[in-house]
Symmetry: C2
Subunit: 208 residues, 2 copies
DNA sequence: CCACAAACCGCACAATTATGTGATTGTCGG
DNA sequence: CCGACAATCACATAATTGTGCGGTTTGTGG
């Protein structure tokens, strides 16, 4: 498996771009011949047979890096994307993840870490800084601030499966009026006034 | 700053427990004096002033590791929890994350990696294997399988904010009957038949 | 040019939901 | 013992929603 990992760089800053390219070309297991300064030119030139990993600046003139992700993923579905960021607690991290990025590097990452990140992402990993990893992991945490009672949590859970009053009543073996009563109390505690609002709030805030 | 990181181990297998403890005691920056074989005994003995990081077996007799996480987090809110797993693609990874775990180690992780993981989690990171990192990152990916039209996506988005037909209509500057028409089509494509069911499906499957 | 989808609008009727106002029972801590 | 709260159930009424049926207009691609 002497195959080199083919890396492309999409970065508008000439200095950073060429510096990264030289760095990567010096690594025997990596080749980096495709350099672009916009998403548009990159999309026009790249195809699935010529690139394994893209280093993509998160903020680019014209089509931004974030906006570019789905475009790359459509044309190059098997290519991994690593975002280049300046500030690592970037608000765009989650947007990039949702769009399909698999890793993050800051532009000031030491070169050996850049190399290892590229190998890691090509190997099915998700390289990122410790801070970003924690952000990502923390975003899963359930918060159960509104003191819902046990039964109320059960009812809310059923609602989050999209069930009607009647179906919840059957699932919990109580009357529909009781379900309504619980739901009323849930609405008060969550400060909402409809089922879909309650479901939205519960799922978005990970109450269930 | 010469403070050692105080680690506790909750693991029912005596051999693994003592092996880990010896390993950690040999590391100058770490101390590991608190060993337990159940969640219950650990909870009874530990308090916030005596432990920084807990290594917690994911499957324990009695109260499982997963069930133990919220208990530890309640009593020891500032203590970081690293789960010990055997199979890393464990279905329990996401449960553990939701419950509040910050890292994952397999019991066969090389010792230097165990040490670095403990330091990493104590430093605000989230140590985990490349496979788990990718699982976690991939779980953010938006999938937009049901070919919703642009407008339908917009409507679904508004619904996921908990809005009523009227509010959606106002937000998008169209009539309420048009909103209903779009919603009808969304229901067909998502194979649901109520607003809360659509919201639940959209949020759970990351369609929005 | 024609088919088709997307986006728009309307009406009618039934079902579900939201809200108000009750009530009973049991548990728990002060 | 009492107050607070969880959990249960009931009835009534108005609002919202779900669904069937019917349209027009616009843009896109074969």
């Amino acid at each position: 498996m002497g195959e080199q990992i083919r890396v492309a760089i999409v970065e508008d800053d000439l200095e950073i771009r060429t510096h990264l390219a030289m760095l990567l070309e010096n690594e025997p297991e990596i080749t980096c011949k495709n350099l672009f300064h916009t998403v548009k030119t990159a999309l026009a030139s790249l195809n699935p047979d010529t690139v394994d990993v893209i280093l993509l600046d998160i903020s680019l003139p014209g089509t931004s890096g974030i906006e570019g992700i789905p475009l790359f993923r459509e044309k190059l579905p098997d290519t991994e994307i690593i975002m280049l960021t300046i500030h690592q607690q970037d608000q765009f991290v989650f947007e990039a993840l949702c769009a399909g990025a698999s890793g993050f590097l800051t532009k000031f990452t030491p070169s050996n870490r850049i190399i290892s990140a590229i190998k890691e992402v090509h190997n099915g990993g998700a390289p990122m800084s410790t801070k970003i990893a924690r952000m990502v992991v923390s975003s899963f945490r359930k918060r159960t601030n509104p003191n819902l009672s046990k039964r109320e949590k059960e009812v809310l859970n059923e609602l989050c499966d999209g069930k009607s009053y009647k179906m919840v009543a059957d699932a919990l073996n109580i009357s529909r009026d009781t379900v309504r009563s619980h739901i009323r109390n849930i609405y008060k505690k969550l400060e909402v006034n409809s089922k879909s609002e309650a479901v939205a709030k519960a799922l978005k805030n990970r109450l269930v």
